[in-house]
Symmetry: C2
Subunit: 239 residues, 2 copies
Amino acid sequence: MALDGVRAIVFDVFGTVVDWRSGVAREAAPFLARHGASADPSAFADAWRRRYQPAMEAVRSGARPFTRLDTLHRENLEAVLPEFGIDPARVEPTELDALNLSWHRLDPWPDSVAGLTRLRARYIIAPLSNGNIVLMIDMAKRAGLPWDAILGAEVVRAYKPAPEAYLRTAEVLAMRPEEVCLVAAHNDDLAAARRCGLRTAFVPRPTEHGPGQTKDLLPAQEWDVVAADFGDLASLLGL
Amino acid sequence: MALDGVRAIVFDVFGTVVDWRSGVAREAAPFLARHGASADPSAFADAWRRRYQPAMEAVRSGARPFTRLDTLHRENLEAVLPEFGIDPARVEPTELDALNLSWHRLDPWPDSVAGLTRLRARYIIAPLSNGNIVLMIDMAKRAGLPWDAILGAEVVRAYKPAPEAYLRTAEVLAMRPEEVCLVAAHNDDLAAARRCGLRTAFVPRPTEHGPGQTKDLLPAQEWDVVAADFGDLASLLGL
């Protein structure tokens, strides 16, 4: 079978397990309306998310010590608001804190919970996300994601796609990299994991970025597994 | 209620959630017999466990960088075998590795799973153990412990009762210390947690150390909650 010898399956989360764009837009909509911004809430979610990689890059480059994603999201929120005509200094900090927690309340894709539950019968399953621990806990409790543990950037103090994020996760699991498989909807995440020796499974999420999505619609390499969704992944693995 | 304002309940594990002495003795028995040692397997478990605090103390004192418990257990196993007339150099390393994993296969006390399941309905629940992450994952999967996350020494790189073990755990949860309650069968663990501002719940485990146990039979301070077992704890909290 494609994943012979694999004992743990770890998951990218934002986009792969949950639909961040709809979730953030849902919570941003009343906020934007309250502050007189007429922008499309999905465009706001996209703009907020656009600052995600640059913020982590400051950590990856060593310019900044490890800082959890909730903090980066909060800084990025203040940075993005003026693009939508809102002065963050004129919004109550508690209101910004509340909106920042929208990332803790994202809905899973329809197949995620059932697929994870099947996979969990044979494998250790855990997020390997750049999201911090309490963000992943809150999300999992709300959505019913049946993780065996919360792994990821905050546990290993490294942001994907830095090699340490993958290698230290295998080390925490006391496994060789080839005993761990990453599931992601993003070819670049899988490519970085493969360079570290992990196994790879691609599950496309063609509407992660909305109806006009052009990237990550197809596998860019011959990944160990390519599945239509998490249920298909479980079936391909004989579960 | 006693724990008003608490949002997360974290648990000591060895002795509090699981019965380490019986579990290690069960797996040590055939090992000892195979190697011609006539010792009581429970005495062997006690002797192995006796080296637990000194090994962690090397890390707590700064004499040694953070080293996960599986590694300390493995070293302690080699150190303890001569006490039982066994030369570790004459045992296959894979056999020692297998016995070392007995700590991953401990049985919960009879009330643990049902009590945790009730507590999980209102609180984030997680181990705050000195056991490392994959040890806690293996144990939870085998025993059905319904943790929301695996927290503890390896996540925060500090061994209890060092204050960092408690304070960094609250920090990872983005909570104030008083929003976190430690459940333990050990008065010294609770005392250290209380000094850091955590709330405390004592659950006695009067046979953790066998039928002749003399310590930790009673609460040594007025802990926030004292419960007979995890089911009683859930009931006292109105669950």
